[in-house]
């Protein structure tokens, strides 16, 4: 894991033993706490050169570090300590031996139950953090660490807020990880805990579908996609995804925060239900599953197919030009063929508008009445003539 020899040798009481990674804000080092003989991860942030900015930045960094330090949850990385060494502010955190979710996703597709289990744990951790007034603001695969025994921890608490508030572009948009930002983040609107729920929704979507949700050639395009693109439900891209998960993801990804999940615990509860459903289903079909596993095919969707897998709108949003996707649950191919390639008689029947029905045709349909009228005519005629 160690990449190269660090420039610093010491930060506070911590001895630096290696470098773990580099980010936009600073370097993450591996360190040793000599007093406790414990390995730690030291996240550093280079403080601004501007004196006024530096004080403000430092104040915020320590405030956030304090808030993150108060969090003690199995799914949240533990912050041990924080301090400053020259122009470098640092945070000593639990050293995790695991694999980033980003790396796991690159290695190969994640099964649906595994994806749900990961997301459920992250939602639990987020729920706890939100309960303590901490919003992460930068939930993404590289901030989720997969540990042995299927455990998950969220990393980088407290740093995100600094990034968000201190790095504004000239257009007022905040820097971060655009693909995982919420619509309110990209529009520069006030952000609360529901933004983390959206970001987790994006991560879950990508795990379930094995594809990137918001894409674009540059940041403005990605921002536009985040704000406007209505993604197809995951089951359209991966048929193994059960319907309940479609609804969970759909609700987590609502553009309007007021109709999104209002609470990460609520999301976690839904994910737990989905997981138990998946586990039950898997247990019931374990034998069959084994056979299926041997013949599993890799699903590859082309761009056209992806475009066609647009989401279904609600009844209220359906207009004349709104397309409703053909349900995959029913075999309607023959009927579609009648419309796309009609035979001679079908072509006439299916395009003919109904004609208004007159009294004559109506009478023709009521045979008893028609017979009574004919009898009356005969009787009347007989009286008149005979």
């Amino acid at each position: 894991m160690t990449k190269k020899k660090p420039e610093l040798t010491k930060l506070g009481r911590y001895k630096i033993t290696g470098e773990l990674g580099r980010g936009a804000m600073g370097v993450v080092y591996k360190g040793e706490d000599p007093s406790l003989d414990r390995t730690v991860a030291l996240k550093t942030v280079i403080l601004s050169d501007d004196a006024a900015g530096k004080d403000e930045y430092k104040k915020r960094f320590f405030l956030e570090a304090k808030a993150a330090g108060r969090l003690s949850h199995p799914q949240v990385i533990t912050v041990y300590d924080f301090g400053q060494e020259g122009d470098v502010a640092y945070m000593a955190m639990e050293f995790l031996k695991g694999k980033e979710l980003r790396t796991r996703m690159k290695e190969g597709s994640i099964s649906v139950p595994e994806a749900v289990h990961i997301a459920e744990q992250v939602a639990e951790g987020l729920g706890y953090a939100h309960e303590h007034g901490v919003v992460h603001r930068d939930i993404k695969p590289s901030n989720i660490m997969l540990l042995p025994h299927d455990k998950v921890k969220i990393m980088d608490f407290g740093i995100a807020r600094m990034r968000a508030s201190d790095h504004k572009t000239s257009t007022g948009l905040v820097l971060g990880t655009p693909k995982y930002m919420s619509p309110e983040q990209v529009s520069g609107s006030p952000v609360d805990h529901r933004s983390d729920i959206f970001s987790l929704g994006v991560v879950l979507y990508e795990m379930l579908t094995h594809s990137k949700l918001f894409q674009g050639e540059d940041t403005p395009q990605i921002f536009h996609a985040v704000a406007n693109f209505q993604p197809p439900v995951p089951s359209r891209l991966n048929p193994e995804v059960p319907p309940m998960l479609d609804f969970v993801v759909e609700r987590a990804l609502k553009k309007d925060p007021s109709v999104r999940y209002q609470d990460a615990f609520e999301l976690a509860a839904d994910l737990r239900s989905a997981l138990s459903e998946l586990v039950d289903r898997e247990a019931a079909a374990s034998g069959e599953k084994q056979r299926e596993r041997d013949t599993t095919k890799t699903m590859k969707m082309d761009a056209d197919a992806l475009r066609s897998a647009l989401p279904a709108p609600t009844a209220a949003a359906i207009g004349s030009d709104t397309r409703l996707p053909v349900s995959l649950k029913f075999d309607c191919s023959d009927a579609i063929e009648r419309l796309t390639d009609p035979t001679g008689s079908d072509r006439k029947r299916l395009t003919r508008a109904p004609r208004p029905i007159g009294i004559g045709r109506r009478l023709l349909r009521h045979r008893v009445l028609l017979a009574a009228m004919l009898a009356a005519v005969l009787v009347g005629g007989a009286i008149a003539v005979v």
Binding site: P242, P243, M244, F247, R251, D270, S273, A274, D302, D304, R307, S308, L310, P311, A312, P313, T314, A315, A316, I318, G319, S320, D321, T322, R323, L324, P325, V326, L328, F330, C332, D334, A335, I336, E337, R338, L339, T340, P342, D346, R347, R349, T351, A353, P354, P356, I357, R361, R362, R365, H366, L369, A372, M373, A376, V379, G380, G381, I383, A384
Partner: protein, 240 residues
């Protein structure tokens, strides 16, 4: 995404909408959706295999029934019955244009006014109610006039796009009422026709001639007719 067929086809669209779907928890949404799919599987069983297309909507399922308004009405009513146990369903039925859209290589969806109006109509329907558009009623009247007699006016509704819809609902008593009205009209017409026949006869030969001919037909002699007429006059107090 492009239209696969330039000519717009007409179909009866039955929109099955789950009420208040978006407000429900995901677990309940999944349960209701599964229930709805089961209902669709049941109610479409008596339709011709190549006669219907199921379309996904976020809060329900739309079924486009081809060339069978009678089947579409039956489907709508059976859906409500089948969904009675815990599935809050409202149904909108319309007959209108539908067009197949294709994404990539194959047809993958339907669009058109037929679907849009059915969705609007379903929005107006209360839970466990079926509402029917005017155009569907016309299509049904042509296919099965006896069935269109079973629809009563529900009123005129305006949707979010300020488009007005004259709607109807299936009403068992409406068919009986219509039947009674038709029978009454038939009896009246028969009486009029017979009356016209009698009038024509009187006009042709004078009333005494008609009276004599009629009495002759019942086998009365001239003497008996005089006596019978006298008796009738006395009873009526008529003095010639």
């Amino acid at each position: 995404m492009k239209p696969a067929n330039a000519a717009a086809n007409l179909a009866s669209v039955v929109f099955l909408k789950i009420q208040e779907f978006a407000r429900r928890p995901a677990q309940e949404q999944a349960r209701l959706r599964a229930q709805l799919e089961a209902v669709v599987a049941v109610v479409t069983s008596d339709l011709r295999h190549a006669g219907w297309i199921a379309l996904d909507a976020a809060d329900g399922i739309a079924i486009a029934v081809l060339d069978d308004p009678e089947g579409a009405l039956r489907l709508a009513q059976r859906s409500i019955t089948a969904a009675a146990a815990g599935l809050p369903l409202s149904v909108g039925v319309n007959h209108g244009a539908v067009q197949v859209t294709s994404g990539g290589r194959s047809a993958d969806g339907l669009t058109g006014d037929g679907i849009a109006v059915a969705a609007s109509v379903a929005e107006f329907a209360a839970s466990t109610r079926v509402l029917i558009s005017r155009s569907f009623r016309d299509a049904l009247a042509e296919a099965a006039p006896a069935l269109d007699a079973g629809l009563s006016p529900a009123g005129v509704f305006t949707d979010a796009g300020l488009r007005t819809h004259e709607l109807f609902y299936p009403d068992k008593s409406a068919a009986a009422r219509r039947q009674r009205r038709l029978i009454a009209a038939g009896v009246a017409a028969a009486v009029v026709i017979v009356g016209v026949g009698i009038s024509a006869r009187i006009a042709g030969g004078g009333h005494q001639k008609v009276f004599d001919a009629t009495m002759g037909k019942v086998g009365m002699s001239a003497k008996q007719r005089e006596a019978w007429l006298r008796g009738v006059r006395e009873k009526a107090g008529f003095k010639p």
